[in-house]
Symmetry: C2
Subunit: 167 residues, 2 copies
DNA sequence: ATGATTATTTGACGTGTCTATATAGATTTG
DNA sequence: CAAATCTATATAGACACGTCAAATAATCAT
């Protein structure tokens, strides 16, 4: 650090860490630009419901890392706004399945469009070779997201399964 | 839609829109995984302060899209937590410059590390060719972020200049 | 039938936000 | 150049939201 010129990290050029940093910066940038009209918890919930379908309240609670009553009131609010609804769980009369309504799906789609429109505009501003390289990275980006979702779902199952599946 | 096989979008293959969607999904995924210990507004503020240095309260307010008193109390809180501090603005004794403290910078860095660690792990899980393609897209990713920041800063200036420069 | 699980209710507290108003400093102008 | 006006921030008061822990009610499982 004292002579900043000639000593690059000698041993470890931490693999994907420069790409990770760029991706994280992109995340921060997009987050900073998206409308802040809903809370992080609501956004996460709506995304999850859209991606993975109807979910139990308890499931949502562990997934979001909040207490069950918090989810109850969260769902109350979503239901009140017409974005989600409670359905009976056929397999357990105590349970409830929270599902997006048509309006909820529309809301998620519209919100996503805000983000993707911005990104399209930015991508269109890239020099041709960079645009090409980004297009070539599409499968990689999709895999990263898929891996993360698989990991999240797995973790989830492990968390909830303590008293649910593994008996 | 009726015969889903043979009709690809005939006219417009919306340019970067598939990449945009993948990037947005990645954003949503990372957001859903990051700790929700601070509000979106705080996160955005800290990021901005780190990236662009000390900022006026009014500037932050327009930038964040909230009322000025909201920023005052936001800064009160940050100051109370030791993450930011108020400094006198040398050019205007009414004004205040909000700046990150060392602890604030550390906090932002640590938080970023949570995100980048996750991303590194995911990238390490990619097949070699995809990892390569992602690495090749690094300049593109960096440009996208840079373009967005330039655009944000410019918009900002325009917004505040309405009653400040153009008289 | 007893014990565990699912969700809701209740009551509380901190935060984030707003509008309206006050105060101190800057700027314009008669 | 002093008064009037504008600007930057702070204060006050209000309200919605997100969150929690504890208690309750319904249902499931053994």
């Amino acid at each position: 650090m004292l002579n900043g010129v000639s000593d690059q990290p000698p041993a470890e050029p931490p693999e994907g860490s420069d790409v990770a940093l760029a991706l994280y910066s992109l995340v921060a940038m997009v987050v900073g630009i998206m409308p802040r009209d809903i809370s992080l918890t609501v956004a996460t919930t709506l995304n999850l419901l859209e991606r993975a379908g109807p979910q139990r309240i308890t499931h949502l609670a562990t997934r979001l890392g909040v207490a069950q009553p918090s989810v109850t009131s969260l769902v109350d609010k979503l239901e009140h706004e017409g974005l989600a609804e409670r359905r009976a769980d056929p397999t357990d009369a105590r349970g409830v399945l929270v599902a997006l309504t048509a309006a909820g799906r529309r809301y998620v789609r519209d919100r996503r469009k805000v983000g993707t429109d911005l990104l399209v505009e930015l991508i269109d501003g890239l020099p041709a070779d960079q645009a090409r390289s980004l297009r070539a990275a599409l499968p990689a980006l999709e895999t990263v997201v898929a891996l993360a979702h698989r990991r999240a779902d797995r973790t989830d199952r492990l968390a909830t399964s303590v008293g649910e599946v593994q008996r």
